[in-house]
Subunit: 146 residues, 2 copies
Amino acid sequence: MFHSILVPIDGSEHAKKALAVACQLAQQEQASLILLHIPEQLAQDTLLVWGIGAVEMKASEEDLEAAGRQIRDRATEAARDAGVEHVEAMIAQGDPTRTILDEARRRNVDAIVMGSRGLGDLKGLVVGSVSHKVSHAADCTVITVR
Amino acid sequence: MFHSILVPIDGSEHAKKALAVACQLAQQEQASLILLHIPEQLAQDTLLVWGIGAVEMKASEEDLEAAGRQIRDRATEAARDAGVEHVEAMIAQGDPTRTILDEARRRNVDAIVMGSRGLGDLKGLVVGSVSHKVSHAADCTVITVR
């Protein structure tokens, strides 16, 4: 059903659950996973999963980059541990919604699997979460995991 | 990851896609699927998938019941065709959001997999879709398929 799946990942618990669902879907048909991390300046101190400590509100660019690489690497590891063979991971800069949509189109993925709320969404509750916007604008199937 | 999955089904294309995702998740770990249909009086003529014709706006209760049984049976067939062994299907009356949440709790399911919008949601756009409300109030993982 799905041959290539895009999984936007931040350090959030929602993203971790979404990755687990994506891995299960990918395994069955040997689909390839594309993990996408988009570093964001967060509005509050945030606890990241995957064994990474909190990134502070006023984190320097270097700190954010280092955390980003760690998130990418841990997520890749988690996908491989779950038995997915084809895993690719990338870091891209930009507005999260637009970057996810652009990447999904560019790579022509069959599905986007993402958490219902990411780390950056607390400040964005008024205008709606990234997943909400993505699921309305994407050309492909969007699976939102809560 | 998921041992029992609740799949609310109406005759919509979204529900059909959700069922396909649920089947793929279920197959891998031999999870059981519980298909739940909640007949609704629709606000407009509606084209149902699964080879069932449109149900008219002023459908009689008998017509709605017959359509409901057909939706249940076709969905069960689709799940079995997709290779899922443990499929159970039920029809329940009531408010869709509340009925889905109640059934999920009562059956202690691990996940609810549902379409992002069902047939009854066109009239309900202002107050939000059923899937939106379910994903905010459920105790378990909710996977919304668009």
